[in-house]
Every structure is written in C-alpha cells, then in structure tokens.
C-alpha cells in the first residue's frame, strides 16, 4: 500500500511515507486520490468498503485505512 501511495498517488520517489503519517490532513493527498486509494484498499484487503461510511479522517494514515477496512469492509463475493 505504501509503495502504491509513493509511486502512483504522490508520484515522487523522494517522499517517504510511514504507516502513521498524516496524508489527508497534511494536504499530501486530495479528494480524487482518496477515491483511488479507497478502491486500491478494497483490492488489497479483498473487501467491499461502502464509500458512504468512510470519511476522509478515516483515511488519514495507512494504519487508519486498514482499520477502516476492518471496521466497515465486507468480504467480496
């Protein structure tokens, strides 16, 4: 997930992202990126995450993203 964020979302190899680094509140990722990340999270966790349940603050760090997937995600059929 961190690799995806660094290369596909931020697009700068000089940026280091840790699991607890704020991404949304720091302005590093924007609303469109958030949508792509949510979809990537579904692929990585093999879960369906209802977007209506997710807030940007739930996706602020990589740790929070996985916690959100655990909380709201349902196994894909």
């Amino acid at each position: 997930m961190i690799d995806y964020l660094v290369h596909e979302v931020v697009g700068r190899s000089d940026v280091r992202i840790s699991a607890d680094m704020p991404l949304v509140s720091s302005g590093l990722i924007d609303s469109l990126a958030l949508v792509n990340i949510l979809q990537k999270l579904e692929d990585v966790t093999h879960m369906r995450i209802p977007a209506g349940k997710v807030q940007p603050k739930d996706m602020d760090t990589v740790d929070l993203m996985f916690a959100t997937a655990q909380r709201f995600g349902k196994a894909r059929k």
Partner: protein
C-alpha cells in the same frame, strides 16, 4: 440596524449569564434562549421553521442511532430537501402567486443550518459516536454566531466544546477580539469601498448593475476581480467576526477562508474558499458518489455534479448553476493537466511554472465570478463575450475611479500578505540569530545592518502583538461610537450593505 444591535446585545447578555452557570442544563437553556432571541429578531416565523427543522433532524437522528441504515438516512435527507424545497427553492418560482404560497419567505441562513442538520445525519449513518441531548442539538442548529451565514459547523467539533465547563481564557478573548476587529475592517471598509466606490456610480455594484451595457474587456476583467475581492472581504470579514465572537466564549469554529487568492491551482482554491461548505460537499457528496463506480471518467463527472450542487446551494438560478458547472469543469481540466504534466517534461523552472499556474488560477477564478454576480445569464454571456473581443480593449464604460479603487485594494492586499510572509521569514531568521548569539540583544545586530533591522522590526511587531488588548479595545470602541453616531444621523453618513451571504 438599531433593532439588530439591541437583539445582539440581549443575546450577548444571555450568553454572559449562561457562562456563569455551573449546571449544564441551565447553561444550555440560556445559550439556546439567547440564540433564539437573536434569530427571532429576523422574524418569529423563521424561528418556527428553525425549531421544526431541529426537531425533525433530532428525531431522524434518534432513528439512525438505533439502526444506521441507508433507508433511514434517505428519509432524513428527503425531509430536509423537502423543507429546503418549500422554503428556499419554491418561493422564487411562485413569487407572482397571490395565495398563501406566494407569501412564503426563506428563513435567513436556512441553507447553512439545514446542511448542519444533514451532516449530523450523515455522521450518524457513518456510525460516529454522537449522543447529543435535545437541548444540545437545538443549540448546535441555532448557535447564535453561525445561524445567519455559517460557517457550516459539524457536531463532532461543537459538542465537546458545549460540554466543557466554561472558563474565561485571556488568549481566547484577545484572539477573539482581534478577529472581530479584522472582520469589521474587511467588511465595513474594504468590501464597502469596493462595492460602493469612492464616488457615486464608481463601485463594483454600479458597474454590474448599469443597464446600458457595452463593457470593454478591461471593464469586465476589473469588475470580475473587484467583485471577487468584494465577496471575499464581505464573507471572510463576516466569518472572522463570528469566529471571533465564538472564540471570546472559548468556542473554536471551523475556518472558512485561508488566503484563497494565493491558490496555485483550482483544486487548492477549493480547499481555501468557503472551506466549511467545500469540505461538506467533499465529505458527504463527492467521496461517496465518486467511489461508487470504477470507470475512469466517473470521478470527473462527479466533480461537475458536486460543483453544480455547490452552485445550486446558493439559489436555484441559472447563473449559480453555470458558476458551479464552470468550476466543476475547471477541476476536471486541472486533473487532466496534472496527468499530462506527468507524461511530458516540464519546460519551465519551478518558480516560473508556479507563477504561471497562480496567474491562470487567479484569472479563471475571477472570470467565474461573472456568473456568480451577473444579474442574469444574458448579462454573463455579454460580459464574457466582451472579454474575448480584443478589438474592444481601448473601449471602457467604467469611470477611472473604479480602476483606481479596485487596483489599489488588490495591490494593498497582496502587498500586505507579502509583508506578512517577509515578517515570518524575518522572525525565523531572528530566532536563528538569537539562538546563535545566546539570546543577547544587540550582539546579533553587529552582524549586519539588515540583521539589526530584522531584530528591531520583529521586536516592535511582537511588542504590539503581545499587547493586543491595549489597542484592540480602543479600536473597537472607536468603531462602535462611529457606527452609532452614523446611525443616529439617520444613516446619512454611512450606508452599509448587508452581508452578502445572509441571502443564502
């Protein structure tokens, strides 16, 4: 005006009384009474709609707290949309009707507090742990500083602050008053100056409302920039005032503006302009909708839909819808440009690219204000046609005073922020120097004359900043006396335009 000031005074007194109560229920009751007294001064019927909306949303919230299902959420959303439809969108459509429906007037600030109610329902559906009592929720909806024109607050931010034992904090009071002074200056001086001009007929308002048309390209550009700044000073000034009032009572509201005209891209602009509504649209409309489908084009379509809703939020008027669509398309164009930029090598050095990007954003955002302000779509089209007619560049219908005022205010605004940025940089240098020289004032100045000037400037600014109380209080007193004197003279000395966003 005098009536409004009296109600503000009554509400303030009730709030001051509330702040002395230890019992939270008595405190909430007094705070709510103060808020309702203030709001009822605009019309007792308006208050009835606000109370009905509060009770309705609270009841929907109870249902969602028991079981957060999509069906229950949609019922709540539908009821809110129905209320908005009846009181906000229906009256302009049936203005000529002579029956009961023809007498419906939109309660002031309805779009703001309805969206607050909706955000509560969305948050409950998202299983946020929110358990407001009825009094707390009614206070959230009617909160005196924000009930007229926002910021659009969220319960998770306000509820813990309502529940805290009230204390008078010197810093909060100082910051609150300085923001009120800043807001009064932005609204009463800058927005007023741009709107009304220095002489009759030379303001932005007269420029847009003149009926003979015939604007030249420079006229339109000036009016667009002038109106953009007038709206900014008016609404940001208002936001400063209400945030300041709440802060005096120790309550921190959501920020609404963050130097929007310094935005390097349209996307950044929407994280700095009317932030409380912009983030509302992002969180409750854009994200859930955009994540529904995986087609590449879908999020871009949702950008346009979300921004159209943004425009429609202001009023069901074609010009606002066009303004929303225009900004939606700007956001799409920006994302497409970003993708393209990743594929091709950038020929510009970073500072030049940044400057070009800022110029383009400023120009495009300013151009968008024509849709927002034009009296109808025909006028907007005529003005935009004028901008793209190079042959008319030497043609102008605006008086030269208009150019002087708008250019002066805009230049002073950017110069002021440039100065602040310079001061921040100087402060950073000052800290470094002082740390290096072991904090002995005077030793560092031996380095250079520039270093000495930096230290003196920072010391002077900090001296006045730390003693804000000394100059803020007299400034407020002078302003109040001036406004009061003007009112007593039957508004002949000043004629203050109402806040622009109270009509939404």
């Amino acid at each position: 005006m005098i009536q409004t000031l009296i109600w503000v005074l009554v509400a303030t007194l009730l709030w001051l009384l509330a702040w002395t109560r230890r019992s939270s229920n008595t405190r909430y009751a007094l705070l709510l009474l103060g808020s309702y007294v203030f709001y009822a001064s605009w019309g007792i019927g308006f208050l009835a709609v606000l109370v009905a909306s509060s009770l309705l949303n609270y009841a929907c919230g109870l249902a969602l707290r028991r079981k957060p299902t999509l069906g229950r959420l949609w019922v709540g959303v539908g009821l809110n949309v129905l209320l908005l439809g009846v009181f906000k969108y229906l009256p302009p459509a049936i203005a000529s009707s002579s029956g009961f429906l023809g007498h419906i007037i939109m309660p002031v600030g309805m779009s703001f507090w309805t969206f607050q109610g909706l955000s509560y329902l969305f948050d409950l559906y998202r299983e946020e742990e929110l358990d407001p009592a009825l009094l707390e929720f009614c206070l959230y909806m009617a909160f005196w500083p924000t009930v007229l024109a926002g910021p659009v607050c969220r319960l998770p931010n306000l509820l813990p602050q309502f529940r805290r034992t009230p204390v008078w904090d010197r810093d909060d009071i100082s910051i609150g008053f300085s923001r009120i002074v800043q807001g009064v200056f932005m609204k009463m001086v800058l927005a007023q100056l741009l709107g009304a001009g220095l002489t009759r007929g030379a303001g932005v308002t007269a420029g847009f409302d003149q009926t003979r048309g015939g604007w030249g390209p420079l006229d339109v550009s000036l009016l667009a920039v002038g109106f953009g700044f007038q709206l900014f000073f008016d609404f940001a000034g208002y936001s400063h005032m209400v945030t300041g009032v709440a802060r005096v009572f120790g309550i921190r509201l959501e920020e609404n503006f963050d130097r929007p005209y310094f935005s390097p891209t349209p996307s950044v602009f929407w994280t700095r302009w009317h932030m409380s509504l912009s983030f509302w649209i992002r969180d409750y409309v854009f994200l859930p909708l955009a994540a529904m489908r995986r087609d590449v084009w879908w999020p871009y379509a949702v950008f346009v839909m979300s921004m159209t809703l943004f425009g429609l939020w202001h009023a069901a008027k074609l010009t606002f819808i066009l303004w929303g669509v225009y900004h939606g398309l700007l956001l799409v164009a920006h994302r497409a440009g970003q993708k393209l930029k990743r594929r091709i090598s950038n020929p510009w050095p970073a500072p030049v690219g940044g400057l070009l990007s800022w110029c383009a954003t400023f120009f495009l955002v300013s151009l968008g204000w024509i849709f927002f302000r034009a009296n109808d779509a025909g006028q907007a089209a005529a003005m935009l046609r004028a901008v793209v007619t190079p042959s008319g560049y030497w043609h102008s219908v605006l008086p030269w005073e208009s150019y002087v005022v708008v250019c002066f205010v805009v230049i002073v605004y950017f110069a002021y922020h440039g100065l602040l940025a310079g001061l921040d940089a100087a402060r950073a240098r000052y800290s470094e120097t002082m740390a290096r020289e072991a904090g002995v004032f005077g030793t560092a100045s031996a380095t250079t004359t520039f270093g000495a000037a930096t230290i003196v400037t920072v010391r002077v600014v900090d001296f006045f900043g730390e003693r804000l109380w000394w100059w803020a209080a007299p400034t407020i007193a002078v302003l109040i006396v001036s406004v009061g004197a003007a009112i007593v003279r039957h508004n002949t000395a000043i004629s203050v335009t109402p806040f622009m966003y109270t009509v939404f």
